[in-house]
């Protein structure tokens, strides 16, 4: 198996990831790439307690994730890789050959404009998503497996329902 989903989600591990995607895809591990979480044992324990016992969670900084991703891709189990922001995912697209990016949740904050119910973007973040696509990654927004994937063009043009 491999990493089934490369997801940008500012909530990191939460219900949609563990249950919404985890159950139908039979996910057995999560790779959480976040410099702050990777530096905090307390935060790591917090996220570990949020997953069922049959699911492993591995923590990496953006830097060491690049080297670790090939190992996860050859894992016999199915996994999800999470980043909390676009910049971290961009690094993985650049340096680890990520080809498909799921925008799963970027929530409301000052300076951001709502694009979908679960996606709010600042102008800089919109540019960053465009750059991901220009680098060759397929970028779609989709919060849960049953939802229709929204193409980047529709996401940024505001034409998505």
């Amino acid at each position: 198996m491999t990493i089934e989903l490369y997801r940008i989600d500012d909530r990191l591990i939460h219900g949609q990831v563990v249950v919404g995607w985890g159950q139908p895809l039979n996910i057995r591990f999560i790779v959480l790439v976040d410099d702050a979480v990777a530096a905090s044992d307390w935060e790591q324990e917090l996220y570990r307690m949020g997953v069922p016992p049959e699911m492993d969670v591995y923590f990496h900084t953006a830097s060491d994730a690049v080297a670790a991703i090939p190992r996860y891709r050859s894992d016999a189990r199915r996994g999800i890789l999470l980043t909390g922001d676009i910049a971290t995912m961009r690094r993985l697209v650049d340096d680890a050959g990520v080809l498909a990016v799921n925008v799963g949740g970027i929530h409301s904050r000052a300076g951001r404009t709502q694009r979908l119910r679960y996606v709010f973007l600042s102008p800089d973040e919109e540019s960053a998503l465009r750059q991901l696509a220009e680098q060759g990654a397929s970028v779609t927004a989709q919060d849960v497996p049953g939802a229709r994937p929204v193409a980047l063009g529709d996401l940024l043009s505001g034409s998505a329902p």
Binding site: D10, R11, L12, I13, H14, G15, V17, V18, V19, W42, L46, Y47, M49, G50, V51, I106, H107, S108, R109, Q114, R117, Y118, F120
Partner: protein, 135 residues
Amino acid sequence: MSSDADAPSAPRAIVAGHGDFAKGLVSAVEQITGRGAQLIPVSVHQLGVEDIEAVLRARMLEAGVRVIFTDLQAGSCTMASRRILRDMDDAVLVAGTNLPTLLDFVFADGRSAPEAARHAADRGRAAITVHGAGA
């Protein structure tokens, strides 16, 4: 003889979770007991993790409550609540809340809110039963 006027109406806990979980459960508690005012439903639609924590913390401080009921162990409200508990020693979080949990909580007049929350969690856990098909 006691009356509804004797029932505590001051808020004693926050209820938070996915979708309209909190609003729905508090509505059910109110319909069954008339004591829904003890529970403050909090919606976190469209909020990031930092804002969820800020909203929950603000509601707790405003209302002077130290109990949070959430729906899912892995949920964002549970994660945010656990962060709040790091610097709020007297607070209690109950994750996996169901309706029997809250019904027990709102009738625990003689207990402190944290004690009532622990008792209610036990009641809620025990209230799940399976019937039929050889169960």
